[in-house]
Symmetry: C2
Subunit: 241 residues, 2 copies
């Protein structure tokens, strides 16, 4: 079971210990993907049970965690409400564009932003006959060095800011992507699926990308990229205009 969140913050002590531990409760719960007992959280946190108990009651008051019938802890629905505020203007502008692009292309289209060397999918829209339904759900994360969206995002970063695992082959791909304005990938993030991504650079915002996934086909890749570029341009003019 791979860890979703990196909890190796023993070296870098957070400015606020209590807040950091409380957030780690949320990370542990998201990581577990199944309701946990207080004792399990206690063990994972490495603190006394009464401490974890106090955290959980506080998180409960804010609706960020809930308890199921057996008293186990799970993430609360209001966390989803909080997350809807993440780049909500970007999402508001991008969603109609994603929908239009997805329907015109017949492909799942999604919006990706950079988050500390990782790509996070903020929104995704599926076309009618969806084949990769569960593939890119909002909140999905994967390294920025993998996949078309990652390359499209890397074109917006100076090579010095690239993550350490960036090899020459990837650098070449990013370079080409920067020149022609779009990136592609095959079987990288999702096996047997291809992807096209275009960069979406916005003022005062983390690098982003708009992407589409599709089954290997004889579709003209460049035309897909053109369609995505149109959407990206529309979004950019709406937000930065």
């Amino acid at each position: 079971m791979p860890k979703i969140f990196d909890d190796s913050n023993t070296s870098t002590d957070a400015p606020s210990q209590t807040l950091s531990r409380g957030i780690r409760v949320l990370e542990i719960l998201a990581d577990a993907r199944v309701p946990l007992t207080i004792d399990a959280i206690t063990a994972e946190l490495g603190v006394h049970r009464s401490v974890a108990y106090r955290f959980i009651r506080t998180l409960e008051q804010h609706g960020l965690v809930e308890r199921d019938a057996g008293g186990r802890i799970r993430l609360g629905a209001r966390l989803a409400a909080l997350a809807s505020g993440v780049a909500h203007d970007l999402q508001a502008e991008a969603l109609p564009e994603l929908t239009a692009a997805a329907n015109e292309l017949g492909m799942t289209c999604f919006l990706v932003v950079l988050d500390h060397e990782e790509c996070v999918t903020l929104a995704s829209v599926e076309p009618r006959h969806a084949v990769a339904t569960v593939a890119q759900r909002p909140g999905t994360r994967h390294p920025v060095t993998v996949g078309a969206p990652g390359k499209a995002i890397l074109t917006q970063l100076s090579p010095g800011a690239w993550p350490v695992g960036t090899d020459a082959a990837l650098a070449a791909e990013v370079h080409m992507a920067a020149l022609r304005g779009w990136a592609e990938s095959q079987n990288e993030v999702i096996p047997s699926l291809h992807a096209v991504a275009v960069p979406l650079a916005l003022r005062g915002r983390r690098p982003a990308a708009i992407a589409a996934v599709y089954l290997p086909t004889d579709r003209e890749v460049a035309s897909v990229a053109e369609r995505l570029i149109a959407s990206a341009t529309a979004v950019r003019s709406a937000l930065d205009g």
Copy 2:
């Protein structure tokens, strides 16, 4: 500008003051819907600036907030990653069903759960020719006493657990919805839109509902409800079976 989050927790002092304040930073940011300065957050929190500063640095380390070019604070992308863990098994089971229902009905279908007297939309899928694109985005909240999903959810609660604002008319509607297995609403949550919702009761989980919105039409409402019931049954058997 209506407040999204109720920050009237001056009476109910949270068990962990620090954690509660840190979470309120997130709520304030989600409420503002625009990047804030540290001073603005400080004023809203009612604490000293050095305190808010410490919170923000901690939140920043966890990726829950980011800073734009001007140093202003906004919610971070990793918050979306956290939120994807909310009822992720329910979402995983419901999304394909929502997609199928949305395409077959030609309506936007979405999944709603109860959160402390409010409905929270966890996932929504739009059909090809979407008309209410921006209407029901994940994370949207509205009172449980309004709209078809709310009624479908109220059928799963004992009347004693209903919120205070529940009048007789609503009670009658909920009663009928409980009898026939689905609820409907007109122009309640979204003006000029109708909605149908069916309850989705799951073991050890908050009451939920599957719903569809559509423009006023001569479509047979009962047939829409039947389709939603089929999806709800499929989800229920997958999770509780």
